[in-house]
Symmetry: C2
Subunit: 586 residues, 2 copies
């Protein structure tokens, strides 16, 4: 076993190329074992094993600085930079994050999780090096999928101008999360087919030097090329052709399935853990939209590289045909295009994770909301408990979206309400509409269906009229509000009022004024950060009055791989804590 002796990259450099191949095999086997037990990014990491080994053989990390784009392919790098136990020992599996993390190692320079940033970050490190008069290589490792994001282009455009040492490794595995989309990918294909010799070359057109490696999983070839470009005095792109999922047959074939996986059986590839009762809003949404598409040829689903977010599997994408567009990882384009489709009389539906919609704030504001076009955006996984990596937190979308004028941001509390809002959002022609898809499972409530949310804009649902205290439960936290109301009734004999606000973007002044008659306290519950959120607007509304207000949500802070129960308790988000706080005041 070579891996056992690799305490740092120094130990990699002691090996022969044949031994590097053996080391690669060991890294791959360890990855496969951990991934099958623990889950994680499968395909991206398996494809990058040889390149990572070769990078650490040739370059001198951390003096030479490697920046991994998204950093979901940095597992082998972690194994070679002092963190191998977290891959070799099951009891240590959770000791490293799934992304690069400076607090773990001096070989990591940034916490990274969103796509297309590596070239810009490398550009900054190189600039700091140059300003300080230092030397050393700066290396960005970016996948072909990540090239579709605008920031990657902006970075490449600036690298050429900077003009000093910067090596961009383009890890071309011919896939994004799903398949790639865009004209650029024809050029990458041409470059692969011509062994990098085609004269029409995207990277050269950006003013960059360029070199191609046909087998990006061949350690010898990689070592040769990396040695050649090491200490180069100008920027260069090293385009390596790798196999996503390399060495695990199922992942090589089912590339989308094994981009990321929950724990799975190595033999069959089947998941070994269950994901609940199987009904989820993504799946339900795709079914619903496919029906709509059949009836109305102007309905079009849009994704920015993550079709699974709203249930558009490969077969459903095929079924939708021209009525489904994957723009690549390009949220800005997705929002602008959706706005323009709506302006042109189409019915666009952009499905997106909460953590990624923030990549398109300017487009939401400028292209969409100033123009007041009736595009529909479905924000999935918005809430505290959906993703717990600090780079993928899903609780900032309310401040981001709801403070933009003209936007109607809806917060359904159950299945029936979600589909009523979806139906209206798709049909109406008055407003840019976003829906925060519930994040607490598919729950049914016995609610009267609303046909026209435009006709009741910013009117809250008064579910139960009580007194003394009113609880406003927004979206996914409606059920928590119910729980608090029940608890107050049962344990404290308080008959609290229960409200489903439905609209995140507006204030129901009539209802709020009415509450002043028989209530002393209004409590807001939202599944997101407090700062800039929904509750603060209620606090502002009541500011000049005698009404007391308590806002619940999470504190403004970046948390990483948190214990959900602890976080909830810390923010006093359990029904008991909330009831307790209420009773102190009323």
């Amino acid at each position: 076993m070579y891996i056992e002796n690799v305490k740092s990259p120094t130990d990699v450099k002691k090996l022969s190329v044949d031994e590097l191949k053996e080391l690669s095999n060991e890294v791959r086997q360890a990855l496969l074992k951990k991934l099958s037990v623990h889950g994680g990014h499968v395909g991206p990491n398996l494809g990058m094993v040889e390149a990572t080994v070769a990078l650490h053989y040739v370059f001198n990390s951390p003096v030479d600085k490697i920046v991994f784009d998204v950093s979901h392919q940095s597992y082998a790098h972690k194994m070679l930079t002092g963190r191998k136990k977290a891959f070799l020992r099951a009891d240590k599996y959770d000791e490293v994050s799934g992304y690069s993390e400076p607090s773990e190692s001096k070989h990591d320079f940034f916490v990274i999780g969103h796509t297309s940033t590596s070239v810009s970050l490398a550009c900054g490190l190189a600039k700091a090096r140059d300003l300080k008069g230092e030397t050393g290589n700066v290396i960005a490792v970016i996948g072909d999928g990540s090239l579709s994001g605008g920031e990657a282009f902006e970075g490449l455009n600036n690298v050429a101008e900077q003009g000093t040492n910067l090596i961009v490794i383009v890890n071309d595995n011919q896939m994004s999360i799903a398949e790639n989309h865009g004209g650029l990918y024809r050029n990458l294909q041409l470059l692969r087919e011509t062994q990098g010799t085609a004269s029409c070359n995207y990277f050269k057109a950006m003013g960059l030097d360029y070199i191609y490696v046909n087998d990006g999983n061949d350690v010898q070839a990689l070592v040769d090329v990396f040695s050649q470009v090491k200490d180069i005095d100008h920027p260069i792109v090293v385009h390596i052709n790798t196999l996503k999922g390399k060495g695990y047959r199922l992942a090589e074939v089912q590339k989308e399935r094994f981009h990321y996986s929950i724990p799975f059986d190595l033999e069959t590839g089947d998941p070994t853990v269950s994901l609940g009762n199987g009904e989820d809003y993504g799946d339900l949404t795709a079914k619903y939209l496919l029906q709509k598409m059949k009836k109305d040829k102007t309905v079009v689903g849009i994704t920015a590289g993550t079709p699974a977010v709203f249930g558009f599997t490969a077969s459903r994408r095929q079924e939708a045909g021209k009525q489904f567009v994957d723009v690549g990882i390009a949220e800005e384009h997705a929002v602008a295009m959706a706005s323009a489709i709506a302006a042109g009389g189409g019915r666009p539906v952009f499905g997106v994770y909460s953590t990624f919609i923030q990549r398109a704030y300017d487009q939401l504001s400028q292209d969409l909301c100033i123009n007041n076009n009736p595009a529909l955006i479905l924000v999935f996984w918005g809430g505290i408990e959906s993703m717990d990596d600090v780079t993928h937190l899903c609780f900032f979308d309310i401040p981001l979206i709801s403070n933009i004028p003209n936007m109607v941001y809806l917060a359904p509390t159950c299945r029936e309400e979600y589909f009523a809002m979806l139906e209206w959002g798709l049909r109406q022609k008055e407003h840019p509409v976003a829906i925060r898809v519930p994040n607490n499972g598919v729950i049914s409530r016995n609610v009267k269906p609303v046909k026209d949310y435009g006709a009741i804009l910013n009117r809250y649902e008064l579910v139960h009229r009580g007194k003394e205290v009113a609880i406003i439960g927004l979206g996914s936290y409606y059920q928590l509000a119910e729980e608090v109301v029940n608890k107050l009734k049962k344990e404290r004999h308080v008959d609290a009022t229960l409200i489903n606000p439905r609209f995140i973007t507006g204030i129901d002044g009539v209802l709020l004024d009415d509450l002043q008659m028989h209530h002393r306290l209004v409590v807001t519950l939202e599944d997101g950060v407090l700062d800039g959120g929904f509750g603060e607007k209620i606090a502002r509304y009541y500011g000049p009055s005698q009404m007391r207000v308590l806002n619940y949500g999470v504190k403004k802070e970046f948390v990483d791989r948190f214990d959900l129960q602890q976080l909830m308790k810390k923010n006093r988000l359990t029904a008991s804590q909330i009831a307790e706080d209420i009773c102190v005041i009323i």
Copy 2:
């Protein structure tokens, strides 16, 4: 005069090519006259006259749809589409906006003012056309400067894949607002030098068809090429080489000076209106930073295509040398690069307009704040009265920036405080820091200089301790708070407390608790939108208490070319109105 008879593009089509040339001259003369009297975008419009005339000669607007990027070059288009009076008659000059505006004409499809969006918007219009089974051309007109923004790349990448009719006119005038920056511009140069025949071609690398027009101010050549590409069944780039400022010698030579101009003398080019006492924070900041740069070689100024925002004129940029970087119109890259320069031990200062910082929310959150790197961002013109075009409003930066964890967003109230904060922001190594540069002129206050804002994080300045009511005046609205305090004292004999919060991103709980002793009302004043802003956090803090809170700022709405006094009054932002409201409560 031909222009007098052009009521719509139909009338353009009746002319001969020689007459089109004469029409172009008339349009140019009218533009020059209006621009010199009224101010506006000079160079971009003068350069696009012939292309606009040719577009309307060949294409059939509005069935064929033209989308102008930024739309600051759409004046000639406005003249040819029923709005010529607003250019020919001085009393009508204000009847059109400086950007495309659907409410003015069916020939405009979007309100546009931020850069790099046209291709994505055109893509959406084309998609809607295709879904509806309609025909017609969709045309995006985009300048070479706008190509540096990531969204333009995302759009081009998707145009090729969409595959149907879409014509991208690249209006290459070899300039952005200032000079262009980036490797891409070498390729544009190569294409110009080779009459478009170079085999390494950025647009072809994106999978697009391509055609070059060497003289983009030659009506005949443009008519020929536009006729050739009209009704094409796939996307094509028409690269036209135009002269920025064409036909006005001073603008042809001083391209940066005449990108946009306030009213000027046609003979001399000198401004004919004064811009106040000449002292402004941009100019002062550049002088300050140049001094710093000389002492510390790691200090580096960064701009995203708008160096004037913090006083970096061409000569100052030259003086700064490698310590000043213009990344092109690429705010995402600018923020990520700044973060990485800080991580690498440099001292980056990114100067940016309030309206454009919103183009980089994800980078502020992910690249900068999660990583907690000590980069410094100077947000200029933040406030209600800086820009009044709906696309350039500068009052959304507080909700955008201040709700991101780890960020320290500072609001200086005067010259001394601004420079103390700038000094600290540049020196400290603990926090990402943004400063909202005052927007109400360079005002001096007799304040004790603070050396270390990190040591007093989130502690507000208690300027005057009174009772009953406390006024918190944030940043540019500190002077308004002073005015209210004086008014209350003089007219109502109320001794109000006056507070300068200094920090937008934090709550001074000790001070706020202390106020509860002798105050019944806390008033917040902020030069920005209320929703998601500073005041709401104060309202939330006091929510559970008996303290009354009044928040002042502007309502969440898009306003366009507003009357400042009216807007202030409507939002009850005059000192009299605020004092009046206060007296109703206390």
